[in-house]
Amino acid sequence: MEERRANLARRLRALGQCVELAEGRVDITTLEHVKDVIRRAGDRAAISGEKTVVALAGPTGVGKSTLFNALSGTDFAEVGVRRPTTSNARAVAWGSALPAELLDWLEISDRHLVTEVPEGFAELVLVDLPDYDSVESEHRTVVDHLVKVVDALIWVVDPEKYADAALHDGYLRPLRDCADVMMVAFNKADALDAADLNRCVRDMRHLLDDAGLKATRIVTTAAEFGTGIDPLREVISRTVSAKVAMATRLAQEVSVAAYNLEIELGKSVPVLNRRAVTNLIDGLAESAGVPELADGIGADYLARGRAVTGWPFTARRYRKSDDPLRRYRKANAELPAGKVSFDSAVRGAKLESSLREFSDSVAGDLPAVWKQAVWEAAHSNSGAVKDQLRDIAAASLPPEKPPAWWQLFRIFQWLAVLAVIGGVLWLVSGPVLQWCGYEPLPSVYWLGIAAPLWLLVGGIVLGVAAGLIGRAVIIPAARLRTRGARRELNDRVEAVAQAQVVAAVQQELTRYSDAVRLVRAAIL
């Protein structure tokens, strides 16, 4: 009993949380129905867990009021030949005081107290409902409201009306999930002979079974003659003393509501796969111009490296050539901010399409409304994404110190230059000194060749060779530099993607998975 209630409270909580998550993303009618059930169940449990409300419902003229009087041992319900008769709901409670709060909540104003308590009726509130099939449509409104809030229902029918569509299609079938807190009283049993009555009850049994109400019992009564009243009272008092009708009814309502919600939610298991994120980062990087920027950085490295390590006599031209990095920055960063959407139409389109592809691949087979929500989440910070990507495109990587090996090459190159100059000077010095009347420098021969010639030729050969070696090293190094720059810039793009896109999408996916998890918890 207590366990049942705790369980119900837990499921109601789960369903309530699920509703909050599903708000705006699930069909409004379903959601309103679920909210209604939650509200009703919460109210009912809060008002009185002790009382059991049993209602008599049925069409006009089946002797509902007569049965009500017979069951309650009162004559509060008027009995008449005028149709329709009962026009509002009427309640009887037993004991010393009326459960006023409960009756207020049920919206029943016609209430009676009986001080003499029959066996097992102490916690019973017996309600007589108006008919639902008469020309008076307000009656129907009252019935429709009360069948939702009472704990147990006794449907009163007679041989004439037991197969009406208004009963079966209007109430029994829709209420099939509450089959075990419902009962059918087959009244006016005296109007038929035993064989016919038997056949009618069997027919009714078939109709109930077909509608999914196998758990609903049928008892035959003849209220006018008091037949079958005692067994019915017995069943009622057992229901009341078990005190489970309310919890059962509410639990079933919650199950049905949760089940309907689950159908709306679907059973997708969205995953934020690494591949989709990688594609997103690549797309965003492309839209930010990262590949061009990285190429520019690599080209810049190549130009500077060749200027430094190349043979000084020829390498100067690299320094003069247009700086690709500066050109790139000029093309991208000097744009008036906010003048155009993103920096170019193409980049804007690339950005949009990578966001779209990302949300599509992540949303997978989610219900359409959730897909749309994921798309919106991916776009939620697109302004910030654009700004930050533009910053990445415009900002320079920290200026790079020329690598140490460049300096080695440079020193070597200058030594080679010095050797060449020395060689030339030495060669020239002989005739010059001679012409000026000085003694020429002593001739030095290395391996049979004049030393100045060694210096001159060696300087040229070594310088050109070093330039070639430097070039052979610098080209792959520049390629590495391009790759490194791309990686570094991609990391920055990834940070933007994670913070501004993936996080928001992840939140939406979590919201969905949580809703699915909670609704399942509410069903069980």
Binding site: V81, V135, A166, A349
Partner: protein, 565 residues
Amino acid sequence: MDAALERVRDALKGVRLPLDLPSAAPAAEYAARQVVQLDDYILPRLAEQNAPLVAVVGGSTGAGKSTLVNSLIGRAVSPSSALRPTTRVPLLVHNPADASWFDSQRILPNLARTRDESPAPGTLRLVAEVSQPEGLAILDAPDVDSVVEENRSLAGELLAAADLWIFLTTAARYADAVPWDHLKQAAERNVLVALVLDRVPPRSMDEVRGYLTELMARQGLGGSRLFCIPEVFELADGLLPAEAIAELREWLAGLAGDAAERNRVMMQTLTGAVDSLARHLPEVVTALRDQHQKVTDLRMSADRAYREALSRINQQTADGTMLRGEVLDKWQDFVGTGEFFRAVEQRIGSIRDRIAAFFRGAPKQADEVSLAIESGLDILVREEAEAAAQRVYELWSADPAGKQLITAAKWNIGRGSPGLAASATELVRAWREDVLKLVSEQGYSKRSKARYLALGVNGVGVALMILVFSQTGGLLGAEVGIAGGTAVLAQRVLEAVFGEDAVRKLAKEAKLGLDKRIQELLAAESARYGQLLGTLGVTLSAARWLETALDEVRLARAEDDRLGG
């Protein structure tokens, strides 16, 4: 009259209300019911006014219809039982002399005739009885409030086909809502109704009778007859005692015997049915118009989304924003190479250049610019088309009917077509060919031939594309420096080759070609929505057709002297 009603029938038969609008469900149901009523009753009755009257016995489950029919005939023809619902196959009792009227499919053409004692479902059982007066047949219908759906709809159909109603209810039931819904319809259609109140406890006979008379008057059935049958506990052979139904039997016999009265009853009901039809048909017309309006609205919102996409692409391909980023980068590479400037300079044209161009082919950089332009254009077009689809989804999902279409559609409303990527690529490729064709067909002077060759056809083509993308010239601030400067360079080289006027013409033609291709692609994308709406089969002509037929009926009704004023 008959022809006009035939046309109404055909128009109603063709009523399609696929969108779930508030007016749709009631109108569709009404149209379906009226087709049946026209076939079952109105058209045959108009054609043959000498046919016997058909009195349909209808009412609630367990009201004792079969017992009443049996008692009227005087023998147990219709099986009655305590089980509900009992009557499933309708039973028509007629005088043997009237047999030919009912054996044919003249009335109720959807029900096969049988004279078998245990008939199959979906048939009409015919019984010839000498005790039944000539000129009046009695039709025992299923329950109007049966738990079995087919019984209910068949009951409705039979009541709609009756010349007069014998409507049965009981003391326990006379205030039930369902039978009264039927009775209100009878009042609306001016059908002659004989209300029979069965199983009245003798002690409360007067009270119930008085109350029911009051109820009938309130519901517009004041002119109808009321017969009360007291509660009988012991039936003799399943029949009510003769005196209990004497009054009803006498009234029916009187009706059958008086040809003039019979004709009056028949005409009253027929006129009522036609008038009711004329009164309610405008609701169907409205429902048809609502459907058409909604389809038009949805189509227009889809069109608008694509029109906006088109104008955005048109703008972006003209204002120079296309030239930023990669395109600019490659263009500058291209311009940075000597070939370009040599072409710009006035002096060149040597044989050496021609030979060089011949061996080198088109400068490689020109291809790279071209590639950058193409991939940029490709993605721009594709993305705008996707965004338009997304926009259509948003617009449609804000509308219940649109939502219904989104759910029912076999494809994703919010995304471009599966072939979109391919057609965007194809568009770009085709446009590039257009441009190359334009420049290669454009005449140039001998003097500029060398320049042309120096750039290669691709180089000239690229310059033209660049010019196209910056045509509006409305560039601002730094943009002029970059995109504008770029374009000026392109323009100068083209002018050097073709001359000023020709360049203007070329740029215009190339831009027009591009716009046309983009427009075609978007039109193909947006046509998907038109097709989806087209499959609904909603047309304005359905409403017009029905309206015309209705006007004809009204006109014929005024002129037809068979029908009472």
